[in-house]
Symmetry: C2
Subunit: 424 residues, 2 copies
Amino acid sequence: VPTSPHGPRGHQQRASRDTGSHPPASRVDQARARATNLALVARTVFAADPPPTRADVAAATSMTRSTVSRLVDDLVDGAVVAELEPVAKVGPGRPGTPLVPHAGAFAALGLQVNVGYLAVVVVDLAGGIRTRRLVTDDLRGSGPAVVLERLATEAAAAVADLPPGLEIVGAGLALPGIVTTATGMLLRAPNLGWSDVDVPSLFDTARIGVPVSVGNEADLASRTVSLVSPGHPGALRDFIYVSGETGIGGAVVIDGLPLPGRHGWAGEIGHVTVDPSGPACSCGSTGCLEQYAGKRALLTAAGLDADASTTALAERVRSGDDRATRAVDRAAWALGWAVGGAINIVDVPVVVLGGHLREIASLLRPRLEATLRERVISAGWVPPTIETAGADPTPGAVGAAYRELERVIADPARWIDARPGTSG
Amino acid sequence: VPTSPHGPRGHQQRASRDTGSHPPASRVDQARARATNLALVARTVFAADPPPTRADVAAATSMTRSTVSRLVDDLVDGAVVAELEPVAKVGPGRPGTPLVPHAGAFAALGLQVNVGYLAVVVVDLAGGIRTRRLVTDDLRGSGPAVVLERLATEAAAAVADLPPGLEIVGAGLALPGIVTTATGMLLRAPNLGWSDVDVPSLFDTARIGVPVSVGNEADLASRTVSLVSPGHPGALRDFIYVSGETGIGGAVVIDGLPLPGRHGWAGEIGHVTVDPSGPACSCGSTGCLEQYAGKRALLTAAGLDADASTTALAERVRSGDDRATRAVDRAAWALGWAVGGAINIVDVPVVVLGGHLREIASLLRPRLEATLRERVISAGWVPPTIETAGADPTPGAVGAAYRELERVIADPARWIDARPGTSG
């Protein structure tokens, strides 16, 4: 059965359907037009707030209401979009049916190896976190093969526990280091002590049934800031994300996406030199930002155990402890220096603090703000602002799942036509 | 007379010409198709090396030879493209006529205010520099109104001296500071001592007959690296350009274009802090890169007069002068530190040295290279490389003219149809 073209330029496509001389090319064109339009409608529904009706989608896409209705029906049948109860409109006209992302059919695995934990999340298409498995451990100096085997075991267990009907569309793995997404190679993750790790050869994807695509932890975590949920842009679209853990990762986010750079390795703000005569860094350089603002370095400098909590640190500062106060001050100053340099270079004057830096943002803010105002050449015109990331404990894993789910929104035809029982 | 459509999909456009029911829309579509195709042919000719024939252009654009021939004829009539003498091909077939940029009809004004000079260049569409006026002066602490008036006088003189038939398509002004191109506002140029300068209100464009668009000096100068001539990409397309004069400007160039950032203010590498306890900078911060590697700072640190030449500096270093050697070493180290941080943040591991830094590149190279290898986290995989810009003494002005000329290549129809005596 040939698919019918639901195009914004309906009359042109009907015309091409009338020409019987090239049926295969024409059918391919029609399928492509339908796929493009399904994606446009899906993108519109996922990005809208409040939930739009079919009429709202028609207005937003400049397609006819009947074309939109057919496309929405396909997306509803395909379980990409769901319908809420009709609500009466203010004024005349039939009540509209609000459309929302469908939460019950498609999901993605988000995986994360960090210096202090392994994480597995299952995130559905509406952004709901269905499962989270968090294994806390000290992975400094660990072996990649053993760790990725443990991660695959956790991931397989998460998949086995899923409710029936939830299809995993893909898996993303967030790593705290420099990765080449196209090949799955981790070049180096200094704090893990890993280098030249061929992830695809060590992670047994047969155990989860889908391929795994790797990414840098901060790049992926930044998606939980630029997006409210998959396909739904948040208020912040241009910012420098600074991810705090033992190491410090970063991403320069422009128009919602991390700047990749030449090889996908951009954003390594944790290894910007703050003081060349400072302590040796795991990367081989000296005085890198993470030697001042990384979690272990900061806690140790504050006179606390390297595994203490930021709550303990905050208590010490509030009680007037001099050593803790100086350590936080130095971290804020180092952060301001490195981020200030980054703002001068990329002109993105919004900083978003994640990880432990988010937890102590109120302590860091005064000195960080003052340092940025002093060091950023355009600060007199646009003063840099400091924001905090959400409180999700494994934003790298969640962002990795978001990236997989966005592939469904970008090309729903590919997914819904493959589902059993859909008309396609 | 209606223009005839020269489209890659000739039969579709002929079909639309046959429908007489919507003639105005159809004529607009045809004109748009012709403009798009003229631009495609122009881009192909300007970018090609060696000069292509009509057949080469047809092969490169997937248009028919007859369509290409008509478009090329229009570009030749419009003086955007010129024909060389036919050359015999190796093998059978008629000799082809090589096509090159036309040098004799369109040109642009490139203007520059730097701390040490005013410059005006006239650059033709083939990249030839027809005029260069260079007024050396110390413009620190100068008044913007007076300086821009002097610049307009020089520009008007350059226009008056032009050979007949050379049409100025626009003027670009390179400024050593933070500018907002859309409004023509210079926010600040610390070394000039200028801030909040409304350039359009101070530069009398009536004297040159074309509007002036402003830009950052390093952003514009970087075009003389990414391009061999207008429309002709060079070998380097991704690099960090560092412009050395009294101040140090920069541009992060990705795929041939400077990264703009949020407001067009990116690339301010000269104001990245190298040592917070270092000397006060004109920007209000302390220990900025330009306090170590800026020309005046470097010469003074080397024990030379601030207005001495880099040749004098190089002689001192080669003669073993300790103070000069230490000053160059410190400049190279500061440069490596700031650029190394930039490479960590944007992952563009190619540095291009311009201005006085180009002149002393061989002195800077050993320490700069070593510092980059130490400070760049990915250096073990892709070692940063150091290149030098061309020797043009006013690359900001030339790049500003390039930017104007690229508008002709991007939309030749707009220019050739306005010329007297062309069929359009």
